[in-house]
Each structure stands twice: as structure tokens, then as C-alpha cells.
């Protein structure tokens, strides 16, 4: 069966000058020349890094309050809400102050999709997405961030709401754990 359709229109022969390719070469070199004087778009990563917007969602991390108390109380809501099930928590009883906290708090950064649900669901404002986006490890175990590493990443984040103030005051200081 013969094929149906419109035949392709081919360009007419360009002429002798075009056959020397000189106009095309000059045109290309003109473009290159113009870009030498333009503002550079290439970023010299990692010497230079991105300026991230405030709502950037990077790796999640745990924070301490201004008394250096671990704010997480191991309520398991983030573990519950986490879509890729990247969070694993084990709770422990703490003898002073707020009575419950995490014994184990692991985030598997290979699983984490930086969706920010954990930050959103956290009733204690203890987990935040940082602007950190570089995560390197030579094996899977290294990509599971443990409590200490997550706390180091999060640092101290003062909270205007002193919900547990009367308990941590009673305990003398909040610096346990």
C-alpha cells in the first residue's frame, strides 16, 4: 500500500558562499564573543553554593531548645506520618523534667524524600528541614542518621512557647541527655 502524506519541502541550494561554511563559522564565533562579556551563569560548586530560598526543604534534623534540651519527646507522629517510612524511633523514660524522650531516633536519608511532613506534624517543633542537601555515605549504614548526628545538624532553636518550663525548672536544668 502506497504511503500517503505531504512530501517534505527541502531548502533550496544555499549558494557558493554558504558552501565555504564561512558565514556560519563567523556567526558562531560572534555568539561566543558576545558571551565572553556577559554575566557568567556557571556556578563554581562546591566553592560557590546556592542561595536557597527560606522555604527550601533539605535534610530533616532534630533541634534543642535554648536550654539545650532535646525537644523531641518521642511521640512517634513523624514516624507515623512519614510517607517513605524513613524514621525509626524508640522511646525512653527520663527521670527528670519532661518524662519521655527518644532513645533511638534514626532517619534513613536514602528513604527520606524531604517532604516536610515530619516538620509539619511535630507537636513539639522538634524536627525541622534544614537547608542541607549534600548527603554522602559510602554504604547504606552511613546514610542512616542517628540521634546525635541529627541533633548536631539541627543545633539550638529557641522557641517562644515554653510549654514544659515548669517541669524543666523543677528538674534543675534541661541539659540532661
Amino acid at each position: 500500500m502506497p504511503l500517503k502524506g505531504t512530501p517534505v519541502k527541502r531548502a533550496a541550494h544555499a549558494g557558493l558562499l554558504a558552501a565555504t561554511y564561512l558565514p556560519s563559522i563567523l556567526k558562531g564565533m560572534w555568539i561566543t564573543l558576545r558571551h565572553i562579556f556577559r554575566r557568567k551563569v556557571t556556578m563554581q560548586y562546591p566553592e560557590e553554593t546556592w542561595k536557597l530560598p527560606d522555604n527550601y526543604r533539605g535534610l530533616p534534623a532534630l533541634v534543642r531548645d535554648d536550654q539545650a534540651r532535646v525537644k523531641c519527646v518521642a511521640c512517634f507522629l513523624c514516624e507515623y506520618v512519614c510517607p517513605p517510612k524513613a524514621i525509626h524511633i524508640e522511646a525512653q523514660e527520663i527521670p527528670t523534667g519532661v518524662e519521655k524522650g527518644p532513645k533511638v531516633f534514626d532517619i534513613n536519608m536514602l528513604r527520606c524524600i524531604m517532604c516536610g511532613y515530619c516538620e509539619e506534624v511535630c507537636p513539639e517543633q522538634a524536627i525541622f528541614l534544614t537547608k542541607e542537601y549534600t548527603t554522602v555515605g559510602v554504604n547504606r549504614e552511613e546514610m542512616i542518621y542517628h540521634k546525635d548526628r541529627l541533633l548536631e545538624m539541627g543545633g539550638i532553636r529557641p522557641d517562644p512557647i515554653k510549654k514544659w518550663a515548669h517541669l524543666t525548672a523543677e528538674a534543675g536544668s534541661g541539659t540532661h541527655r
Binding site: V73, A91, K100, E124, H166
Partner: protein, 553 residues
């Protein structure tokens, strides 16, 4: 302020269906335009429950006396000027009750606000969160916001009120369910309400903490997170837990329970309402009966002694270990006659296990004597605990190798010590650990075959040790001392290579020509129902959630 107009409340006569006729001992009333007929003396709250309407409540509990202090169950009753508490108002003939009017709703909202004024924002650290009446009712009936800007009243938060219970006084709403439980059900009277007003607090008399065999029930009935069970404290959030209905295997009562599982582990055991067995309660021992599962060393896979006697136990494949067991029994019978075979079978096993013990060991393998050791401890108490600690003594008598009998077991073990019994099959028992026999006597056996869920001293001494499922890992039926058959359900995957006891016995029996197919526990039970008159007409399905009484001759 003018009363809001209520479309549900036009002037009399009331619309809706007419009141049905009531018998001499009944009263009929209308609740939210639904006609209800209840026995005289029923409260409005209970009548509403029968009509399928929930009247929210905290202090009312079907198993306790009426306190009427939480005020959450206020309902509108026609001709009564004020709202009435549903829990303490008796249903009367012709009563017209409304539970959904604007007045009732605004009152519930106000009650919730009062209850929450001094309630701490503890939900993230509170074990009750997820099954908390305050959370449920605030979501359903509350305003969803707080107007209270002042400092809340502070109380002790880690009040060690008893051996197994921690009290958080800040969370308490003073419904006094726990106090009434100790006064009326456990009859131990440890708790009382101390002080008054916003300083009121549940407490104990100095030197008399909450310490009774039923103290865990106060934690269950606490509608908020004030009382928490020490072993469960901070172990799991309840929304992860899956309740599997089962029966307790702690004593001959066989209480209906829920096994709360998560990550293939039982995290707690709570009572399941069964008015024929345990009503609303279980004992503390039953509550913690899952602890041995994680505390005792388990048998991972079948183990068999190397062919030369005296060598160490080695892991073996199932088929290999079963072959070895059968071979040992056969060799002993050949050398010393079948009289040299005996068995000890536990009445803690299910009807299915015991039925197959009889079929496989007595009938197929020709073991002439099977002993069932009794386990007795303490005395029967006034509530649930039975001195007979075997949960299936009746099942053993009806469908298994016979009722527990100390004398028969003693006879068998004496024969073992004297060398008259040369091969012993032990199913679910630990005569060595229980001190019924010494290691030297046990060592004289030519064959010791043990089927048990843990590495008991007897299992460690065995020639062949076969791992069975532990509590909560397999299906089965228990018959309690009153003859009520109830199902145990599999809540967990069997640990490592463990298999249900009945299946191990089936496989062992097949090596002696046991014919039946026995594909499932339910099929084994069907055979019991078909062959044992007491179980006639019963099946796993027919037992349902509450069990059924077996027909005893």
C-alpha cells in the same frame, strides 16, 4: 438570652412513632424519637446504648456503681426543667429524652472546657493518646479551642501510686472510676479522693500503695492518661497497635483478652468484655503473661543430639529431626516393648494440640501412657484467679489424653527413674525445671523427645527438641473450668522455625501411619467436634468472639 429555636422540639404531642407497649417489668420511652423498650431500673444512658445511641460519658462504667460526677452525659428530658445526667436517671414509662439538642450540645462543650481547664498539653508524651476519651470527646463535642490563658494547676506528674501503676495527677479528671474499682471489684480499698476543689487528687493511705492482683484494670478504665501501666509505659503508641481477640492461658478461668501487637510483638494484653467469663477485668498476671515470650530463650529450630549419645545438641532440619524422633521411639519399642514408652502432655495446650497428642502419640505411635501434670498455685480468689493454672484442663479431659492427674505423672516419672520407661515424649511441659524429676534420672532415657516453645531445662536435655509456637503465635481452643470453649488467636508470626504443636504432632504421627489430613487447626477442631460428643456442633466459627459452652455428660 432567648432560647434558640429548636426544630426538633415542636409543642406536644411529640411526633415520631408512638411508644411501643411495654411488659410489666419493662418501660418504654422515646430517645431522640426512637422508641425504646428496656427493663425497669435501666438508666437513660443504658437505654440510649440499647437504642444504638452514644451518650458521651467519663465516670459511668457498666461494671461499677454510678457516681454521676463527670456531667458529660447530660441529656434533655421533657418536663424536667434542667438537663439530667443520663447515667443516674432511671428510664421511666413515657419519658421523652433528647440527646442532640442545641442545649445538650452547648452543655457538652462547656463540660469539655471545664475538664480541660487544668488538663496539661501532654498528648505527645501521654500513653493514652489515641485511645483517650478527652481527645475523642473534644473532637466530637468540644469547642476545639481554649479560652484559658492563666497558669494551670500543677500536680505531681510521676506519682508512683502502686507496684505496677504510675499516676499523673495533672491528667486526672477525678471521675473516680479507679477508686470505685478498688472499692467494689478488687475490694482492696487502696484509693481515695483527697483534698477538694481544683486541688482534689487521687491518693493512697501512707504505706498502703495500690497493690492488688487486679490493679491493671484501673489503668484500663481510666478514661484519660492519668493511670499508666508501668511495663507498657512509653513502649508503643496505641495507634500502631493491632488488637487481636484471644483468650488468656494463665489459669483455668481463660479470660477473654485482646493481644495488642505491633512489629510482631505483643506489647500489652487488655481485657475483652465477656460477661460469661471475666466481665470487664483481667488480673495483673494475665496482663503480663506475654512477658516470658521475650524473656525466655527460645528454641530457634529443631535440635537433635548427634547419633552418638552424649554429644552436644545440633541444629537439624525439621524432616531430619522428626525422622530421628520417630526412629528413636521405634528402636526403643523394639528393644524394650511398647511398655517402655510414655508421654507427658501439658494441659496448657489447646484442644487441637491435645487431640493430636492423643491421635499421634497414643493411637499411632502406640505410647500406652500419657500423663497430664496439674499446675496448682494459691487459692481461688473472689474475682477471677483460679488455683488451677492450666487453662485447658477440661479440654484435656474431654478431647485429650485425660484430666490432669499428679499421680499418673508421678508414676511415669518414677518409672523413668527406675529404668522401666526408656523413651519419653514431653509436650509443652518442663518436668526437669519444675523439679518433678532430676537430671540424672532423665539422662538414663534412651530417647527424650521434647516439643516446647522455649529452651527449657528439659528441652536442653532432650535427644530431639522440636520448637513449637509460643502463646499468641498459634490458633487453638481452650476450655475453661466452667466448660466454656474459647478461641486463642494467632497474633504473631511464629518465632524462627517454630510450628504449632498440633502440626508437629501430626508430622510425628504420620511417621507412624497417622491417616488424617489435618490441614489447619480449624480442621483438627472439626474432627474433635465430630468425634467428641461434648464438642458436637461446635467449630472455630461457631465459637465466635465469646466462646460457647461444651456439653458435658
Amino acid at each position: 438570652m432567648a432560647e434558640p429555636k429548636e426544630p426538633q422540639q415542636p409543642p406536644s404531642p411529640p411526633p415520631g412513632p408512638a411508644l411501643p407497649a411495654a411488659g410489666p417489668d419493662d418501660v418504654s420511652l422515646l430517645i431522640d424519637d426512637r422508641p425504646v423498650v428496656v427493663r425497669k431500673g435501666t438508666t437513660v444512658l443504658q437505654a440510649a446504648e440499647q437504642a444504638g445511641l452514644l451518650v458521651p460519658h467519663y465516670c459511668y462504667h457498666a461494671g461499677l456503681s454510678i457516681a454521676g460526677n463527670c456531667r458529660m452525659c447530660l441529656v434533655e428530658i421533657e418536663k424536667a426543667p434542667k438537663l439530667q445526667i443520663g447515667c443516674a436517671t432511671a428510664a421511666a414509662q413515657g419519658m421523652v429524652v433528647r440527646t442532640q439538642t442545641a442545649r445538650v450540645k452547648s452543655t457538652r462543650e462547656a463540660i469539655m472546657e471545664f475538664l480541660l481547664i487544668n488538663h496539661p498539653l501532654d498528648c505527645p508524651i501521654c500513653d493514652q493518646a489515641g485511645e483517650c476519651r478527652l481527645q475523642q470527646y473534644e473532637a466530637a463535642y468540644g469547642a476545639g479551642r481554649s479560652r484559658f490563658n492563666e497558669e494551670k494547676v500543677h500536680f505531681p506528674k510521676r506519682y508512683d501510686i502502686g507496684r505496677n501503676v504510675v499516676f499523673d495527677a495533672e491528667r486526672c479528671i477525678k471521675c473516680t472510676r479507679c477508686v470505685r474499682f478498688c472499692d467494689e471489684v478488687s475490694k482492696t480499698h487502696e484509693l481515695a479522693l483527697f483534698d477538694r476543689g481544683d486541688h482534689a487528687i487521687i491518693g493512697t493511705f501512707p504505706g498502703r500503695p495500690l497493690d492488688n492482683p487486679y490493679s491493671g484494670n484501673t489503668v484500663d478504665i481510666c478514661p484519660v492518661g492519668a493511670l499508666t501501666w508501668k511495663p507498657f509505659r512509653f513502649r508503643a503508641r496505641v495507634w500502631f497497635l493491632r488488637d487481636v481477640p484471644s483468650a488468656c492461658a494463665g489459669c483455668a478461668r481463660g479470660c477473654s483478652v485482646n493481644l495488642a501487637t505491633y512489629n510482631n510483638r505483643i506489647h500489652r494484653i487488655t481485657p475483652r468484655q465477656n460477661m460469661q467469663v471475666n466481665r470487664f477485668w483481667i488480673c495483673d498476671a494475665g496482663r503480663e503473661s506475654h512477658a516470658p515470650l521475650s524473656e525466655r530463650p527460645r528454641l530457634a529450630g529443631p535440635r537433635a543430639l548427634a547419633a552418638c549419645k552424649g554429644g552436644p545438641q545440633q541444629e537439624a532440619a525439621w524432616e531430619e529431626a522428626l525422622d530421628r524422633a520417630a526412629e528413636l521411639l521405634r528402636e526403643t519399642a523394639k528393644a524394650h516393648g511398647s511398655g517402655a514408652l510414655a508421654g507427658i502432655v501439658s494441659a496448657r495446650l489447646s484442644v487441637e494440640d491435645l487431640h493430636l497428642a492423643r491421635k499421634a502419640l497414643s493411637e499411632a505411635a502406640g505410647i500406652p501412657r500419657l500423663g497430664v501434670p496439674p499446675h496448682v498455685e494459691g487459692e481461688d480468689d473472689h474475682l477471677l484467679i483460679r488455683r488451677d493454672r492450666t487453662p485447658n484442663a477440661k479440654g484435656a479431659a474431654l478431647a485429650g489424653p485425660g484430666a490432669p492427674h499428679a499421680g499418673r505423672v508421678k508414676e511415669i516419672l518414677e518409672d523413668v527413674a527406675a529404668g522401666r520407661v526408656r523413651a519419653l515424649v514431653v509436650v509443652g511441659e518442663d518436668p526437669l525445671g519444675d523439679g518433678l524429676i532430676d537430671a540424672a534420672a532423665l539422662g538414663r532415657l534412651d530417647a527424650l523427645i521434647v516439643i516446647d516453645w522455649w529452651k527449657s531445662p528439659t528441652a536442653e536435655a532432650a535427644h530431639v527438641a522440636l520448637p513449637s509456637c509460643g502463646y499468641g503465635e498459634c490458633e487453638g481452643v481452650l476450655v475453661n473450668f466452667e466448660g466454656r470453649a474459647q478461641r486463642m488467636r494467632a497474633a504473631l508470626r511464629p518465632w524462627a522455625e517454630a510450628e504449632p504443636t498440633w502440626r508437629i504432632l501430626r508430622e510425628l504421627g504420620r511417621r507412624f501411619g497417622l491417616a488424617g489430613e489435618y490441614p489447619t487447626a480449624s480442621a483438627v477442631f472439626d474432627e474433635v467436634a465430630a468425634t467428641v460428643p461434648a464438642f458436637a456442633g461446635l467449630s472455630h466459627r461457631a465459637l465466635g468472639g465469646l466462646g460457647a459452652v461444651v456439653k458435658e455428660a
